[in-house]
């Protein structure tokens, strides 16, 4: 037997609320905010009014990529580049090679429990909002 740590709905709603509050306080463009579990399965999603269809899908794929690869997208993208590989080598259509706006969620012990994906702003804005989600989910 072994244990599996799971994100819960209350934490996910709090993370969405925190991220939304920050987007609104800074008057950033409408964003899509996505939280997935360690399998890359959807745990929570909020699409702000006016989000484009591309942005909605991209945020979901960023969260999926961070969770599945167990890495923040910046690190994953750097790793691909160093290895001279492409994200398409993994033959998984849901993986993206973006380098911002996707962060892995880990427990204090370093266990991967999910991913946060944000899209709609500049890469820097996406990353900053995703960090707020991570902080809420990890109690930071």
């Amino acid at each position: 037997m072994h244990e599996r740590t799971l994100l819960d709905a209350g934490e996910c709603v709090a993370a969405l609320d925190g991220m939304l509050a920050s987007v609104r306080a800074q008057s950033l463009p409408p964003m899509a905010l996505v939280i997935v579990d360690q399998y890359g399965d959807l745990m929570a999603l909020a699409c702000m009014d006016g989000v484009t269809p591309f942005v909605r899908d991209y945020a979901t794929k960023k969260a999926y990529t961070a969770a599945r690869m167990g890495a923040d997208l910046a690190d994953f993208a750097a790793r691909l580049k160093a290895q001279r590989r492409s994200v398409t080598d993994y033959a998984d259509a849901r993986l993206v090679g973006a380098s911002r706006g996707g962060l892995v969620v880990r427990t204090g012990a370093g266990l991967v429990v999910g991913g946060v994906g944000v899209s709609g702003g500049t890469p820097e804005q996406d990353d900053a909002i995703a960090r707020i989600g991570i902080a809420t989910l990890t109690g930071g």
Binding site: L6, V13, L20, Y39, D41, A44, A46, C47, D49
Partner: protein
């Protein structure tokens, strides 16, 4: 050109939170909650830890999708086929479901705003009872009729 009123994130989150509160008041198997707009695009979604991975997420999405696209509560969707020599499967759309827990969102003028989908409980009637909490919240806010 035309301009259409569309369900927004504020309304979707209001429904999600009302359903989660109702869920807390009558605990049971973990659920997934999906709110879609009239285009069947997901506006808000929340899933509880430990949901049945094979069923709850997909079914919450299918219920919201069926309600929003077919303009019907999913419990009543099967009735549409009564007396017809065909079944839901004949529609050829694998995202249609007649499982209880999908509710159509309509404003006072009959405009379709989208759908709610709840899944996870052992019985569709239980899913629907939770979904109703979302509808009540939207009705209280004057969003739906």
């Amino acid at each position: 050109m035309q301009v259409r009123q569309v369900l927004g994130l504020d309304e979707a989150m209001l429904a999600v939170k009302a359903i989660l509160a109702e869920n807390k008041a009558s605990p049971g198997r973990p659920i997934a909650v999906a709110i879609m707009d009239d285009h069947c695009d997901l506006v808000a979604f929340v899933c509880e830890a430990g949901v049945n991975p094979a069923l709850a997420r997909q079914n919450a999405l299918r219920k919201a999708y069926t309600s929003a696209s077919m303009r019907v509560d999913t419990m009543a969707f099967a009735d549409r086929f009564d007396g017809l020599k065909r079944t839901i499967a004949d529609s050829g759309n694998l995202n249609f479901t007649s499982g209880g827990g999908g509710l159509v969102l309509k404003n006072s003028e009959g405009l379709i705003l989208g759908g709610i989908g709840v899944s996870g409980r052992p019985d569709g009637a239980e899913d629907e009872a939770l979904a109703q909490a979302g509808l009540r919240a939207l009705r209280a806010a004057g969003v739906v009729a």
